[in-house]
Amino acid sequence: MAANYWTSTQRKYWTFTPEKLAEIRDDLDRQAAKAIEQHPYPDRRLMFIFLRDRLLQLAKRLPFRQQCVATALVYLHRYFLSTPMQNVNLYLLTATAFYLASKTEESPHHIRLVAAEARQAWPEFVPGDVSRLGEMEFCLISEMHSQLIVWHPYRSLIALKENQDLKLSNDELGLAWSIINDSYMTDLPLTCAPHLIAIIAMFLAVVFLPTAKAAGTLRPISHDTLANPDSGPFSSLVGRQALSGSFNAVIGNLQMSNHPGSQTNPAPNGKARASLNDSSSQRVDREKTIAAIKESEKLQNIMRFLVESGIDIEQMIESTQEMISLYDVWEQYSEKSIKDTVSRCLKSRALDN
């Protein structure tokens, strides 16, 4: 279990194929069709950016660890498999997920402290009664069948850092760490093994680094953060909008390595195919990147590592694509519009008390 992801409840009960996930959500949406129709929420990923920011808002004054935020986000993902977002007070739920995750990650905060912080942050939506947070904890635990231990990619990334063949630089590790943080906005925590997410993040980081350097968006990473990254801020990838082109090139290259000698696109879902069908300027970018990959010894080593590690390349391509599309969708994020939508829903459905 705890040392073995393969026998964990996460793998047994909380990892789904994208198809199964869609099926579960379709069923749920049908049950709550009316509420969803009345209060349509934007793309799930945008909602998760919003929820992540609420967690970070809460965490501003309470000492927290990145892994605690990550665990809370996974709890939310799991909860929304049985409860539509429109049926719950998202602020209360977020505070509860934070509170519960702080306990499972062994850096507990007192319920009163979390409740007070949440009340101060969102006085309109968080009831003053501490017991409401306690009751929501029951909802959360019950829907998750008391399966509270979550496996994260961070540990796998640290293991990759130790791998001498890969020779990852601190910049690459920092980027990969941020990409892992961003993966919690996607479905990856529900579809991928944590080590696969770590590998994807590493891969994207290595491809990314030259572009990030050129664009001057590389955030310097302090030595402290690398020594104990978990205590740092839950940072996201910076300069992501410029990078979609090279990302897509990467996908093409990955597919080639999966099907040597074949240029056809094996991606099974339309989504991946659609975004590969990119503009000519992106195509130039892609060719440049492919050339770079061929030249780069590091990328060659990584390719070899991927093939030798026996991971499911097909799944890796799909999931990498999902990460990239997150960064595309991110451009549409508007905190204010989500805040207003959520607020209208909570008020009209009397979920705000």
């Binding site: 306990k103 850096s107 319920i111 009751e135 399966q147 509270l148």
Partner: protein, 470 residues
């Protein structure tokens, strides 16, 4: 099964607050679209009949229960059904008790036990059937275990002291180590091993229980110490913990195994120290008396044998222990747990490492008068002394302990010379152990938890008179 008359009242007690559940249901009907309110999907009362009360502690109370037959047919004659499964239901008490129970947030201990027990699965670790959240309480439904080591040890002292058969001790120890190896392999330190927490089923299988203090130790983000200042019941607490270790390891569980082994042999706790209470400033005191009990038998720890000794936070305190014990050859200051042991001269003096334990062990075997072919023998002593290694880095690990010669089969037969231990600790024995005492008196349940039962090393159930323990 117990008389239905009394058990009914207990069930009523347990479900006293289910009436509130009705109100809750009404409220949920009102807000039926809301994911903000909790309604139990499964109810204890629908699935289980409470037979009686087993024990209580800081965490809450444990009840014995039997599964109601879900497909029970009222027309079928009573008693014709297959035997129903027994369960031990652990009810975590809400922080405040009384009629006005509120959701106050679950304790760290409950969260740990719930999350670990849902992940763990091993024949020598207690089996969890399910967790039910109802009436603002958590109910953990475990497989019922008829015995525990405390009860078995106690049985062997009544009415006169009769040693526990050597084969039984060996089987218990092997199964205990096997479960512990699994826990440690999975980065779980139990942190509260003691006879009362080691369960034994009626078919002789050992199950490690009570994971309320257990936690993961893989790359902890803060030192383990910062979470819980005091772990492990005092008599089973290792010297590294007593000297204030911050980043302790699974070795603390192995020390406790040594203490349990010794207690199975002698039927008494080997290091029965007195706990120094935490003062009003909540600083953790040095457990001088407990450390003294260990030193008395094992001699003082030495820097040449324990590399990190001088770096231990409470090392200076150990120095003061030396001073206060100075000029007391033979360690006569403290009577040993068995007064009859003659420790003069040959060993056990404060500065003499190791020989004290051999004395203790040989005396123990002598008192038990094991038949020569059925004795724990010298290998037992070897194992015990490796478990009582002062340096936690050198202390035997669960994995190595499982390969110890002590577990090698000496009987003639196909498995002679192999590590071969029965997984039924009662195998080949006639002794009948009494069943777990189950109380059906309602006032046992009505009283709140027993006094002074704060978890984590402070006095617990095992310090109470035997009758109240089970």
């Amino acid at each position: 099964m117990s008389r239905p008359g009394t058990s009914l009242t207990i069930a009523q007690q347990l479900r006293k607050t289910t009436q509130l559940g009705l109100e809750e249901a009404a409220r949920n009907l009102e807000k039926k679209h809301s994911g903000n309110y909790y309604t139990a999907k499964v109810k204890i009362g629908q699935k289980y009949n409470i037979i009686g009360f087993i024990s209580s502690g800081t965490y809450g109370r444990v009840y014995k229960a039997v599964e109601k037959n879900p497909k029970s047919d009222p027309s079928s004659p009573a008693g014709s059904a297959a035997p129903k499964e027994l369960y031990a239901i652990k009810k975590f008490k809400p922080e405040k008790e009384g009629d006005n129970v509120q959701y106050m947030g679950l304790s760290q201990s409950a969260i740990r036990e719930m999350s670990l027990c849902t992940e763990l699965s091993h024949p020598n670790v207690v089996h969890l059937a399910e967790i039910i959240l109802e009436d603002k309480c958590v109910f953990m439904v475990f497989e019922y275990c008829e015995h525990d080591l405390l009860q078995i040890i106690h049985h062997h002292t009544q009415p006169t002291r009769r040693p526990i058969p050597a084969t039984m001790i060996r089987s218990i120890l092997f199964q205990l180590l096997n479960g512990l190896y699994y826990l440690h392999q999975n980065w779980v330190i139990h942190r509260d091993l003691k006879p009362a927490n080691i369960m034994v089923t009626s078919s002789g299988h050992v199950r490690i229980g009570d994971l309320g203090l257990a936690r993961l130790f893989h790359k902890p983000l803060s030192s383990l110490y910062s979470g819980d200042k005091v772990v492990v019941t005092i008599w089973y607490r290792s010297p590294d913990l007593l000297l204030g270790a911050r980043h302790y390891t699974p070795a603390i569980d192995m020390w406790a195994v040594g203490c349990i082994f010794a207690e199975l042999l002698s039927l008494r706790p080997i290091f029965k120290g007195e706990e120094t209470k935490m003062d009003s400033k909540k600083t953790v005191p040095f457990q001088r008396n407990q450390m003294g009990k260990i030193v008395e038998i094992l001699g003082l720890p030495r820097r040449e044998n324990w590399k990190g000794l001088a770096d231990m936070p409470d090392y200076p305190q150990l120095q003061s222990l030396v001073v206060s014990r100075g000029g007391m050859p033979g360690g006569g200051l403290y009577p040993t747990s068995s007064n009859s042991i003659n420790r003069g001269g040959s060993g056990g003096s404060a500065n003499n490492n190791g020989t004290g334990l051999e004395n203790w062990y040989n005396n123990c075997l002598r008192h038990a008068s094991y038949p020569p072919d059925k004795s724990p023998g010298q290998r037992g002593f070897q194992l015990l002394s490796e478990l009582f290694e002062y340096d936690p880095d050198k202390r035997l690990t669960a994995e190595r302990a499982l390969h110890h010669d002590y577990f090698r089969n000496t009987d003639d037969g196909p498995h002679k010379g192999e590590i071969w231990v029965s997984n039924n600790c009662f195998e080949g024995l006639d002794e009948v152990y009494p069943h777990r005492r189950v109380s059906t008196e309602t006032n046992d349940i009505g009283t709140s938890s027993l006094p002074g039962t704060k978890r984590g090393g402070l006095p617990d159930d095992s310090l109470l008179p035997a009758a109240k323990r089970r």
